[in-house]
């Protein structure tokens, strides 16, 4: 890891003015020789240290956001929803009584991410902004398209953990499992710049497909700080769940994960449905056909099975990841039934 300057401001606007670039921009090069003059943000620092230890990011300076007051608070929002400070840790989220009661999918995903040691330090903001886990992207020996190179090595290579949807030029899957749940819950992000101006953007719209910009996963601009995650109040009759399928029972990123949120009339038909597939595409993938099939129906095992089948519409597996299709179909069916049955 390279040596760097360190500052730890106590004020968001002040911090925003010090960073000169984003982590994504600082990792792009034409020749594979990285810029060493960028100043970047750090929250929990888990992904940042990982990238720096691998020599994939060589910043001149780090701006620590962890000392900024009030960014680590979960608070009731004016609209009855919840305002989650970007520095709230995954451990905090998993243990929070309000999140556990009203936003179970998020508590599930936070409590099952990484290891207990990482959850204690990793923030939800950093989790949402982490770089892809694709092994070609994480390898210094592979100057892939996302880092300014010419090709995506996954298409002709080892692509068993890669995307089955929307892999146009880059076959990465989005690494932030929390986003699967947060998109299902209708989350928005609050971003603050050096002038103190806040913009609010839907999390689903924040993520960018490779065909839009292959060198960054989201619409974060230099100097902008992700300050909060905003969850709208769920309808009293809605429920959510997140299911993660790993390759083993010990901690790892999922090979497939699914979040389902359903608003169901008491004893009656489904009024609104969100079915989101994680680790399926470069962004959290909304299974629109499955959602359309659920709305207006009284959900039983047959409806759940049909919706699960529809969730894979448009899938285009690569040479080594067609095994993901039946896993996703099973997870979607289980998640729908678990929400309906309250289990």
């Amino acid at each position: 890891m390279n040596s760097f300057e360190w500052s730890s401001p106590r004020d968001i606007a002040q911090a925003a003015g010090v960073a000169t670039t984003t982590v994504a921009a600082a990792m792009v090069s034409q020749s594979g020789r990285l810029s060493t003059d960028g100043v970047v943000f750090k929250a929990g620092g888990i992904d940042l240290l990982d990238l720096m230890k691998e020599g994939l990011l060589v910043p001149r300076g780090i701006v620590n956001l962890r000392e900024i007051p009030d960014l680590a608070v979960i608070a009731q929002a004016d609209d009855g929803g919840v305002h989650i400070g970007a520095n709230v840790t995954l451990a905090q989220l998993a243990a929070d009584p309000v999140i556990r009661t009203r936003f179970l999918a998020l508590a599930d995903v936070a409590g099952n991410s990484a290891s207990p040691q990482i959850r204690q330090v990793a923030t939800i903001g950093g989790n949402l902004l982490q770089r892809p886990r694709c092994w070609y992207f994480r390898s210094r020996d592979h100057h892939c398209a996302r880092k300014g190179g010419e090709v995506c090595f996954a298409f002709a290579g080892e692509n068993q953990y890669h995307a089955i949807f929307d892999h146009n030029g880059c076959a990465m899957v989005h690494p932030e499992t929390s986003a699967t749940a947060l998109v299902a819950l209708g989350a928005k992000l609050e971003l603050t710049n050096a002038a103190g101006t806040k913009r609010v953007v839907g999390l689903e719209q924040f993520f960018l497909l490779p065909e839009v910009d292959i060198q960054r996963e989201n619409d974060l601009t230099p100097g902008e700080i992700l300050t909060a995650i905003l969850l709208p109040p769920p309808a009293p009759t809605s429920r959510s769940i997140h299911i993660k399928q790993g390759e083993t029972d010990s901690f790892d990123w999922p090979i497939a994960d699914v979040a389902v949120a359903l608003d169901t009339a008491p004893g009656g038909a489904c009024r609104a449905a969100a079915v989101i597939l994680g680790a399926a595409s470069p962004v959290p993938h909304r299974a629109k056909a499955a959602e359309a099939l659920l709305v207006g129906k009284t959900i039983d095992a047959d409806v759940a099975r049909a919706a699960a089948h529809a969730a894979l519409q448009g899938a285009a597996p690569l040479t080594k990841n067609a095994y993901k299709l039946p896993i996703f179909e099973t997870l979607v069916r289980r998640a729908i039934l678990a929400v309906v049955r309250g289990g």
């Binding site: 010090v18 620092g45 701006v63 010990s250 901690f251």
Partner: protein, 180 residues
């Protein structure tokens, strides 16, 4: 650092923060480890694991993967287990660090340490300090853990010798010893 030549109107907040930057060379900082305050002079890039091992000679904390993936470097930060390899020493601030060296009271072992010995929960021993720290932290928050609680608390730990079943037995025993 004096900046007397810079007119006030140019001294924006950003420049003020830039002047507050330290490093990249060694900087003085204080670490509270096992209830002892230590003054160090280290680079901002120094991880907590490196500071403990190289500056303070507390080599009980092991570094396996150096990526937060094996948990051999587990220490407590304000009583909670963290990976010391993925935390910068400069980021610890005033928070209290507890390492494996701080767990026993003199010659009196922590119940988890005694139980690890009794159940032979050690082979090569490299992952053991980290596992003991996770197990001891679990007992602090949950004095009567179930086997599932123990598996969850130790889920981050890799042990290539395969001692996990003995660790589980040791922990169940340690919680019984603590109760009596």
């Amino acid at each position: 650092m004096l900046d007397t030549t810079l007119p006030d109107f140019l001294a924006s907040d950003a420049q003020a923060a830039e002047r507050d930057a330290v490093g990249p060379g060694p900087v003085p900082l204080t670490l509270d480890v096992n209830n002892v305050s230590h003054s160090l002079f280290i680079e901002p890039k120094t991880t907590l694991a490196e500071a403990l091992r190289d500056s303070l000679d507390l080599t009980g904390t092991k570094v396996g993967c150096d990526r937060g993936a094996c948990s051999a470097c587990t220490v407590w930060l304000d009583g909670k287990p963290i990976a010391a390899c993925m935390m910068l020493a400069i980021d610890v601030g005033s928070r209290k660090i507890t390492t494996i060296e701080g767990l026993a009271h003199g010659d009196e072992l922590h119940p988890v340490q005694s139980a690890f010995i009794a159940h032979d929960a050690v082979q090569c021993g490299f992952c053991t300090p980290g596992l003991v720290m996770s197990c001891a932290a679990l007992l602090e928050s949950n004095p009567t853990p179930t086997i599932d609680d123990i598996k969850a608390a130790t889920s981050g730990h890799l042990c290539r010798c395969g001692t996990h079943p003995h660790v589980h037995d040791a922990m169940l025993d340690a919680s019984r010893i603590r109760k009596t």
